[in-house]
Symmetry: C2
Subunit: 437 residues, 2 copies
């Protein structure tokens, strides 16, 4: 049995607060090491990329070998089975269709004073996606990062993916190809982030960097933020399942374990109104766990962070969910729409027993890059908007300036910014002359 | 004459690159001092706020005096003249009307497979606005930060504003009142940011922090980012004016000086196709400058960072503008709409000779909190979206799961995440049983 809490317990509030504030990740301080790598990359460019790739990935490269050639990509992607190829293509198509609906409209109107106002969206010119190497090289993450960028209209899209010992996952390259990525580089770590932000002799810099990575990648993204845009600093993944009585305990147990198998730091929480169901799910987890290929990881996550919370009703469940602000929220209840309406802080909601979270990781269409560690209180999953920016527009007729200009002058003077006021006043003076006032 | 560049000059590219990469701000490293303040605030709460307010603002407070009372606010705001009050109210109304149009729609649709997909926007629950004290306490900034939050539906809105020697600008309190701010605290610096992020005995924490500040405030925002959301790290302000021949040089000179009077680190750039106009503007700046109350600041900015660039045509102007990615872009040309279409990286565009930038600082309606230091390449001005977050929604029918589930299973297995696949497979197995397959 994992940690269990019960809202009827007088100690509940204290224990729930502990759950909320528990840190699941060791915060290794790599800031100084990362700052040194960035400075070195800025000074010596490609040479640093080659040296560090040799050191960390045991791969000796010359600058002309940093980028995958079209032939190399063709050779690797040819290894992918037709079934995997179709699966990736279907997933890409559904992700593209979902994100295409996110494209915002440009807006313009003229107000009664004669001011034409509005805004206009435009894509960033170039984006770089970081893809972790080795075990965590997920082709689905390539689709989830690259497709929104392409839908937004990003002109140049590049990927950095480390290839330890020269090994690349062919599905990652195929996903890049299907998503329309222009350039793929076999580099990783803080040096790859620095290369994307500042450029080198062979790599042109980008304007926006997205994608997950280890502590070095996360620290590098935080340090280059401002020079370029970044998506977010993602923490370990988490799921919250809210269930009423009449649910299949095996399904819920597998959903909790699917989250747990990501990472020993992942967290799976079940909130249920039904004591019997809670115990049945706990039993099912224990029964299924040993059968999983990733039993070690999933078992550690469930042991350290797995939690079952018993509540008296769904109102309580929604209130706790809002305090957790989960990355993934599964609502296995009779009326999931009604409950979803009360769960206002969540990255992604999966409604009903036939929408397991795993479907959202691959094929339902919404993005799987989502806010973790309670940040769904204030942030959103990756979307087309992350690759767009908005320019506001204003055009005043002389009449509009006459109508609202005096207000600007008054406020400018109140703030002690007389040149601001004078820039309006000079124009008003001319208008008054013209109209003979 | 300030720095002048000419695209016809063979040295132009080198000199323009220097202009782009010039740093206008001393980057003082206050990270360690700020980290210590945040740690102290988390440990000792209100006591730290009182101690540091005494130290930096020469104001002795007890915890019950941190917050302005309703009586204190009424007493201060009563000092505002009716004219200033009306001006603030008109500005607030126009800002509110503009931002109300930014409210995005919730979207939902059902695809042919039977998956109901969409997303939903919801406000952050609580937001905190930092307002610098002293000279830089701008009531207009209170409106620009608070109104979008209120339009978004933020439930609890608070302000921190330092009051050196106990002095507050009554217009700041009035702007807070007009915008519907719930709580105003007389604290500032990194400790105020920490209090908003972590809370104290008397201050409840918020989910999002916006607003400008000095190096300490900026470093504190960067450090609490992730615990809470932040808007952006703003640098010194800048304007780019693009002008053709038939423009009034005094108007353009005053627009350049309006930017320069903000801050000695501010930057004003004129790009013109007309050599005579460029020289006339430079002359007008020299003539007007000594007449300004803030001549010292504006003069330092113009001397150190003021730039006039002569170009052969507007195509060149647009291309340079896109490399500068200015915060404010004024288009004083015959067809500003056509030129605006080519200027794709800019925070805010002001079209035509009767739309001076200062109008946008106060009353046109768009936000004046805008991306600086070339970050308009990848980011946008403050908007209602900064106070909202998006939750994605998905609900599959059994038929939809049957249609797309197998693809998820295949990709999950390809990624080595078997519990992910099994969570779909268990459900498909039951469906197959039910349909007797």
């Amino acid at each position: 049995m994992p940690v269990t809490l019960n809202t009827a317990d007088p100690e509940f509030e204290r224990r729930f607060s502990e759950l909320l504030s528990a840190k699941r990740e060791d915060s290794v301080d790599v800031n100084d090491a990362v700052a040194a790598i960035i400075a070195d990359l800025r000074a010596r460019g490609d040479a640093v990329l080659c040296e560090l790739t040799s050191k960390f990935d045991r791969l000796d490269l010359t600058p002309d070998r940093l980028r995958f050639t079209a032939d190399e990509i063709a050779e690797e992607t040819a290894k992918v089975s037709p079934e995997d190829r179709s699966a990736l293509a279907l997933a890409a198509e559904r992700i593209r269709a979902y994100h295409a609906r996110q494209m915002p409209e440009n807006v313009s109107w003229t107000d009664p004073e004669g001011a034409t106002l509005g805004w206009r969206w435009s894509p960033v010119s170039a984006a770089g996606l970081y893809v972790p190497g080795g075990q965590a090289a997920y082709p689905s993450s390539v689709l989830m990062n690259a497709i929104p960028a392409r839908v937004a209209g990003v002109e140049r899209l590049m990927i950095c993916v480390p290839t330890p010992d020269g090994v690349i996952n062919p599905l990652v390259l195929l996903a890049a190809q299907i998503s329309g990525v222009d350039e793929v580089y076999r580099i990783g770590g803080a040096q790859a982030v620095a290369a994307m932000a500042y450029g080198t002799e062979t790599i042109r810099p980008v304007d926006k960097i997205t994608g997950p990575g280890n502590a070095f990648v996360a620290a590098a993204k935080r340090q280059v933020f401002g020079r370029v845009g970044i998506d977010m600093i993602a923490g370990p993944s988490e799921v919250l399942v809210i269930a009423e009585g009449a649910q299949n305990p095996d399904w819920l147990a597998m959903d909790l374990l699917a989250q747990a198998e990501h990472d020993a730091d992942a967290q799976s929480i079940l909130i249920t109104t039904d004591t019997a169901l809670g115990h049945a799910v706990a039993g099912a987890v224990d029964r299924i766990l040993p059968t999983l290929p990733r039993a070690g990881i999933a078992g550690a996550s469930w042991r350290d962070y797995g939690t079952i919370i018993f509540v008296r009703n769904l109102e309580e469940a929604a209130a706790l969910s809002n305090r957790i602000a989960p990355e993934h929220l599964e609502l296995c209840v009779d009326d999931p729409e009604a409950l979803a309406g009360k769960c206002v802080h969540a990255g992604a909601i999966f409604l009903g027993a036939h929408t397991p979270e795993a479907i959202g990781d691959y094929v339902s269409g919404p993005n799987h890059v989502l806010p973790t560690a309670r940040s769904a209180r204030f942030s959103s999953g990756l979307s087309v908007l992350d690759f767009l920016k908005r320019t506001t527009l204003a055009r005043l007729t002389p009449g509009a300036l006459a109508a609202i200009g005096p207000t600007a002058i008054r406020l400018a003077n109140a703030e002690g910014l007389q040149a601001h006021g004078a820039s309006v006043d000079l124009r008003l003076a001319e208008l008054n002359e013209r109209t003979g006032e």
